[in-house]
Assembly symmetry: C2
């Protein structure tokens, strides 16, 4: 990609803000961008990691879920929802071990791609990035530990309330990140099934903690949601 690409500046500024590329110089980012190509994923576009990934991706806009699934039962469990500034597939960047994870676009997704080998070369050229990557992975690790233990340590209602709380926008009381997600995606996020999510959303509506209008969930009573999340109170 060359600087005369109409989206060049927008791409550059997204890269600059990416935690993965924290502390990288503008020159190094421009060098990186020059080797990248743009790609658009439409919703439901899907990628498996069973074929070892030879391309490294940066997300410019849109949302991507990373999930595992059980082909026998058809159930899925989402481990991350990635958005602008995030990258994948980091693990294939570090080593060539296979691991069976799936990626699927939840929206229209704008990504920048670069061949894995070139990304490795770039990293070796600008080794300062190692620290940023470590920091990035550490953050992911922490999230992942919660995902891992939430299912056994907390009930689905508590997990739902916690998920909502994690996504409330301070002013509007709206749920930015997970809004417009169908119930079964929410189910995947907290490790349960669609019908159980539906059941609990009704429960929270009934007791006045939230309101729902055309897929947008609004938080009405933050305090109540908090007490549900902390298992202090059963509605």
């Amino acid at each position: 990609m060359t600087p005369n690409n109409p989206s060049y500046q927008r791409y550059l500024s997204t890269l600059k803000q990416s935690p993965f590329l924290k502390d990288s110089s503008i020159e190094s980012l421009e060098a990186l961008l020059s080797q990248m190509t743009e790609e658009r994923w439409i919703s439901k576009n899907f990628k498996s990691s069973l074929e070892v990934s030879t391309t490294f991706h940066f997300i410019i806009s849109g949302r991507l879920k990373v999930f595992k699934s059980n082909p026998d039962t058809g159930r899925e469990h989402t481990v991350f929802v990635l958005s602008n500034g995030d990258v994948f597939d980091v693990l294939s960047l570090l080593d060539a071990e296979p691991h069976d994870v799936y990626w699927e676009a939840l929206d229209v997704l704008e990504v920048l791609k670069i061949p894995m080998d070139q990304m490795r070369l770039w990293i070796n050229k600008y080794p300062i990035i190692h620290k940023a990557i470590l920091y990035y992975l550490g953050e992911r690790m922490r999230q992942l530990m919660d995902v891992a233990t939430d299912v056994t340590l907390h009930s689905t209602l508590v997990r739902l309330a916690t998920l909502l709380l994690k996504n409330v926008n301070g002013e509007t009381q709206e749920l930015e990140l997970i809004n417009n997600l169908p119930n079964d995606e929410i189910a995947g996020l907290i490790g349960t099934t669609r019908s159980v999510v539906s059941r609990h959303i009704q429960e929270l509506k009934r007791c006045g903690a939230i309101t729902v209008s055309r897929k947008k969930i609004n938080v009405k009573n933050l305090q109540m949601l908090l007490s549900v999340a902390e298992e202090k109170h059963v509605p």
Copy 2:
């Protein structure tokens, strides 16, 4: 610690074999060791991460479980069992964010400690280690993804069988790593409770997949265990 410490050579060779310190030169490892002090943790010795950790630890021998818990119900979920060559707490090394995880010795544990700041200085001095750390974290990440999704995607029986399979020693058909672990530790590993583990161990015994004698579990029918783990067959 100085080279005339009676265990010096043993410590050095454990460090040399640690994946966390992969590719480090002998000189750098000796520099590291010179700043470390030894410590012994007895079984059940316990450490919380709520006070931000100011010490970095290397495990020389013994097993340490890393777990999260729900203080209300008393349930625990183990995310890792660390042993010789492993390190903790990596996350506090990367940044100073709090995260509530607990560590507990399962055996007598030999650890080497070093103040967090000195460890950071050492890393900066020998930056080649960054790659090894990344690799190490990546491996952990992969394990963690399985832990995170196993509970929702597979039944407890399947998870138990999988855990056993992960630990069979090729020759003796014995379960090295998890042997001598009480049932409730096994329960913590697969995200369930003691009585359920007991129930399923009986089940596997009854159908001849394993035998149990004085805490040692032996695998009798590997094939059967495999088919249980793959959900092909319900005993």
